[in-house]
């Protein structure tokens, strides 16, 4: 069976989950992406993406501590599963491999 495909948005969300570690939940993920990537992303989009990632088995979740700024409501905290880690690593390998195929003079020309 083919491995579930990791889309671009899914990759970003998954990376953010990994970066935030213990405090990865939907609102914090949305805000991080919004601030750090200068990329306007809507909360429902992130929410749906997380659900999809969970269906594919790349993240797992459990209910966590409530705080006052969220009106005493519980958080759903996400962590990257082993399958998620592998998918991210594979993704990174694939990119590195493609980068390495670009001839060095061209890269110098780009100023990269």
């Amino acid at each position: 069976m083919k491995r579930p495909f990791l889309g671009e948005l899914e990759e970003i969300v998954l990376l953010t989950v990994a970066a935030l570690q213990k405090s990865a939940y939907c609102a914090s993920i949305t805000q991080t992406i919004d601030q750090q990537m200068a990329r306007s992303i809507s909360f429902p989009t992130v929410h749906t993406t997380l659900q999809r990632l969970e269906e594919k088995g790349f993240v797992s979740s459990l209910m966590g501590g409530a705080t006052t700024e969220r009106g005493g409501r519980q958080k759903r905290l996400f962590t990257v599963t082993v399958a998620g880690q592998q998918a991210l690593i594979e993704c990174r390998h694939l990119r590195t491999y493609l980068w390495e195929q670009i001839p060095t003079p061209v890269l110098q020309l780009w100023g990269a």
Partner: protein, 891 residues
């Protein structure tokens, strides 16, 4: 929550939505996350943007837009007790599937239900459109509720007569005496306007169409009513010799609407008028359908004198006065001034005449001012309700009868934990599906019906349905009403099944939605059909009676031709036309008169003084102008005296018997040789008394009437054709007419047709009832067919056993039919008295009417009986002829 105060709270409605419609199990986290996001948005984007973002996000997060978690890996997916299973996608899918399978399995029933509902709802929509058309007429004028119309009221000891017309100088008088009234505009209708467009080289173009109406108006008219101008405007209309026209009229005259302003046409071929404006075509829902409007000043050429110089005691039914009232001068102010106004301008008739104002919004629905009667509209609405009722009854009957087939499904669902409410909503949902399906078809039925109305029921109005958002509300109301009517009872019955009984298959027809209730509903359907058939029969009889009644005058093979519309007729031309026409081989007798045949509607009323009596007679006899040949041509009979001597001026008079009786005499000899005095006329000597004939249509009785010779007031030629070759006669007459009146328009009309015009509304109603009665019977029979189909299936074994034991085909037929014969009888007991009552009140509109005979009622009984028995036997004959071996073998 202290940190929240800075940005306030997120929109309450959105939080509520989220709490109500979150995907199962996700409410807690979403509420929390969204609160945090709200704070974040408030800090980064501001409060208003945050609220906006919040609302948008919530809309995307709630069901049914959000993804639901299908894989349920942990404890969170365990549904709590609040979850409503009926709204789970899986359940909805299941409900739809079951509904679809049921429709497929019982195609005959589905067909009957959908078709019946579609026809019923289609007719209801059409009726709704018609009624709405009449209630919305002219509503689009933005001043609509402030517009009033001056009317005339003539009081006499026998009662008041209200007419829409007013004297010509009324508008001027109000203008000068009451400048506080916002706007006052006179309008004089101009029937069948003839417009002549000069063509540079060649014959002039003549435009005349019976569907066009014209008018003479004051410019203020356009400040009262809404018109939009394509070119020019109404301002120049204050000068005489100017005219404005609709775009359609402009295209007819000039072939275009541009560059028309400034061109000249001749009105009635005589009055030159310059076009000063072109307005966009008026909407069809208006009573002010004037295609061409000339300046009020031009009326001088039509009347011979300025309208303001016309006498105040002469009231013309086609002259109207509209006004826009405001706070400075209200309707009450006018009512207070009325008496002094009449004293000033019409001092001789203070007691008899007044000029009340009527809201313009009342005009379209008051029959006394020529509007549509509310009763007609009400009866249409009732018929619509009856049709919807009949179709819903079909549904209830078939659904409850079929409920048995679904007993097992219901049983299984209940055992697996369905609640009564869930089952109820499931069945209501199925009804909704069928009703919505029917609605789509109904829209088609309604659309088709509208084109039929256009072609067959054209009548005096152009019917167009104007859409507005409120229509959606009405349609929704209809749909909800039908769903409740049709679905409520079956759903309650099915949801109420006891699972043990249902699963054991021990439900009987008796338990499944009362057999007696079905009987009652079928009886109601029969009664509806019979009622409509009684109406149909009575209307048809009355209309044929009206058509064939001896009216007291001859009407076959007589033609009328209207003469040019001038203030007074040219006497020499009259005699030229008469001489030329009578030499034609196909023309028999020839006569001139004011308005064609009796009943043409062209009569006027006047007050007269009799002989030496000092007082004016306390009633208003009718008057008309005829020549000496009129009596012979229409075959009127003289009781005593002689016919009028030929004359061009009014000197002698014929009166009818009714007039003689009203004058207080019983023997004609007592009135012969005495005189009638009418203002502005020489004394008229009564030379003959005519047998009463119907000079008015049969809705009205016979009024006192006198006729005299006044050649300058002739506007019709009455021509009797002596051969059957009408087309040759017509073409020869047209040639002669055009030779004498080159500027006029030859427009022949047979008397027979003219007489039918008075009954247009009744004929329209007759056609509608025919159509709807047929539909009601059809829908009812479809339902009955379905019911019998079901019963035959149910009693297949019983029929088999009976046949084995020696029952004949006819006895089995009787087994199925006797039930319905009894129900028809009961329905007849309901519909006959109701029909008698309704139709008696309808017949009271006519002075001359048929008396209802038992035969008409029996006819309706017979028709329903035959149709019902045919429907029933169609299936039961099959059952009776079936081989009992087949039905008994499979167990």
């Amino acid at each position: 929550m202290g940190r929240l105060t800075k940005g306030g709270r997120p929109p309450r409605w959105a939080s509520w939505l989220l709490s109500r419609f979150s995907p199962p199990g996700a409410e807690d986290e979403l509420q929390g996350d969204m609160l945090e996001m709200y704070t974040y948005w408030v800090q980064t984007k501001g409060v208003s943007s945050a609220r906006w973002q919040y609302g948008l996000a919530v809309l995307r997060l709630i069901r049914p837009f959000a993804l639901t978690r299908t894989s349920q890996p942990d404890h969170r997916s365990q549904p709590d007790s609040k979850t409503n299973f009926s709204l789970q996608p899986a359940m909805i899918r299941n409900y739809l599937l079951i509904a679809w399978r049921n429709l497929r399995k019982n195609q005959a029933y589905a067909f009957i239900n959908v078709t019946g509902l579609a026809l019923g709802m289609g007719c209801a929509l059409l009726i709704f459109a018609l009624v709405r058309y009449h209630y919305q007429t002219d509503h689009y004028h933005h001043n609509f509720n402030r517009i009033y119309q001056f009317t005339s009221r003539f009081s006499s000891p026998t009662g008041d007569i209200n007419i829409q017309g007013i004297p010509y100088p009324l508008g001027q008088a109000i203008h000068t005496d009451y400048p506080d009234i916002d706007q006052v505009a006179m309008l004089d209708e101009w029937y069948a306007p003839l417009v002549v467009v000069p063509v540079a080289n060649g014959d002039d173009k003549k435009i005349k169409d019976k569907n066009y109406k014209g008018a003479f108006v004051e410019p203020a008219y356009f400040r009262i009513f809404d018109y939009s101008w394509l070119a020019g405007g109404p301002d120049d209309l204050s000068q005489p010799g100017t005219v404005v026209m609709s775009a359609e009229m402009a295209r007819n005259c000039f072939g275009t609407t541009t560059g028309v302003v400034g061109r000249v046409v001749r009105l009635d071929a005589r009055i030159p008028a310059r076009v000063v404006g072109v307005f966009a075509d008026y909407r069809d829902d208006t009573d002010l359908a004037y295609s061409i409007m000339a300046s009020w000043g031009s009326l001088k050429d039509q009347l011979g004198t300025r309208p303001e110089d016309q006498p105040f005691n002469n009231t013309n039914g086609s002259t109207h006065c509209f006004a826009l009232f405001n706070d400075r001068f209200t309707v009450n102010d006018w009512n207070r001034q009325l008496l002094s106004f009449v004293k000033k301008y019409n001092p001789n008739q203070i007691k008899e005449t007044s000029y009340p104002v009527v809201p313009f919004s009342d005009m379209h629905l008051s029959p006394e001012y020529g509007g549509v009667s509310r009763e007609l509209l009400l009866s249409l609405v009732l018929i619509g309700l009856l049709l919807v009722g009949t179709a819903s009854i079909n549904f209830v009957n078939l659904a409850t009868a079929q409920a048995l087939n679904r007993a097992r499904e219901v049983g299984v669902r209940k055992v697996l934990g369905s609640t009564k409410a869930q089952l109820f909503w499931q069945f209501m949902g199925e009804t909704t599906l069928i009703v919505l399906l029917a609605l789509v078809l109904a829209a088609g039925v309604c659309w088709y019906g509208q084109t039929l109305v256009h072609t067959y029921l054209h009548g005096p109005f152009r019917f167009t349905f104007y859409f507005s958002p409120s229509v959606i509300g009405w349609i929704a109301l209809l749909v909800v009403a039908v769903i409740l009517l049709a679905g409520l009872y079956p759903a309650l019955v099915v949801a109420g099944f006891r699972p043990v009984v249902a699963l054991a298959g021990r439900l009987t027809t008796q338990q499944a939605g009362g057999f007696s209730l079905r009987r009652g509903l079928v009886t109601a359907q029969f009664a509806i059909s019979q009622l409509l058939i009684i109406g149909l029969v009575v209307v048809a009889y009355q209309l044929s009676y009206v058509r064939n009644k001896d009216l007291g005058f001859r009407k076959d093979a007589i033609l009328t031709v209207s003469l040019p519309n001038t203030p007074t007729q040219d006497l020499s031309k009259l005699s030229t036309f008469r001489n030329l026409a009578t030499t034609l081989p196909d023309v028999g007798q020839f006569s001139y008169s004011l308005g064609g045949p009796p009943q043409s509607g062209m009569t006027s009323q006047t007050r007269v003084r009799f002989d030496t009596r000092p007082q004016i007679e306390p009633y208003t006899p009718q008057q008309t102008w005829i020549d000496a040949d009129y009596v012979g041509l229409y075959g009127l009979k003289l009781v005593a005296g002689r016919n009028l001597h030929p004359s061009d001026t009014a000197r002698e008079a014929l009166i009818n018997e009714t007039f003689m009786h009203r004058l207080g005499f019983n023997r004609p000899a007592e009135v012969l040789g005495r005189f009638l005095h009418k203002e502005g006329f020489a004394p008229l000597e009564i030379v003959g008394v005519l047998t009463d004939y119907n000079q008015l249509d049969l809705k009205q009785g016979i009024n006192p009437l006198f006729m005299t010779t006044l050649a300058s007031g002739f506007y019709s030629a009455n021509i009797q054709l002596s051969s059957a070759n009408y087309s040759r006669a017509l073409s020869q007459l047209e040639r002669v007419y055009n030779q004498v009146y080159p500027d006029s328009f030859f427009e022949p009309e047979f008397v027979e047709q003219q007489l039918q015009k008075a009954y247009q509304q009744e004929q329209t109603m007759g056609r509608l009832i025919n159509c709807f009665a047929g539909l009601a019977l059809f829908i009812g029979c479809m339902g009955l067919y379905g019911l019998v189909l079901f019963m035959v299936l149910q009693r297949r074994k019983e029929v088999g056993v009976r046949k084995v034991l020696g029952a004949s085909v006819s006895s089995i037929l009787w087994l199925f039919s006797r039930e319905y014969v009894r129900l028809i009888g009961i329905a007849f007991l309901l519909s006959a008295p109701l029909g008698w009552w309704v139709m008696t009140s309808w017949l009271n509109n006519f002075a001359y009417k048929i008396s209802m005979s038992p035969l008409m009622f029996l006819l309706s009984l017979l028709v329903t009986g035959v149709v019902v028995l045919l429907t029933v036997s169609f299936q039961s004959v099959k059952a009776a002829q079936m081989n009992p071996v087949k039905s008994l073998r499979n167990e």
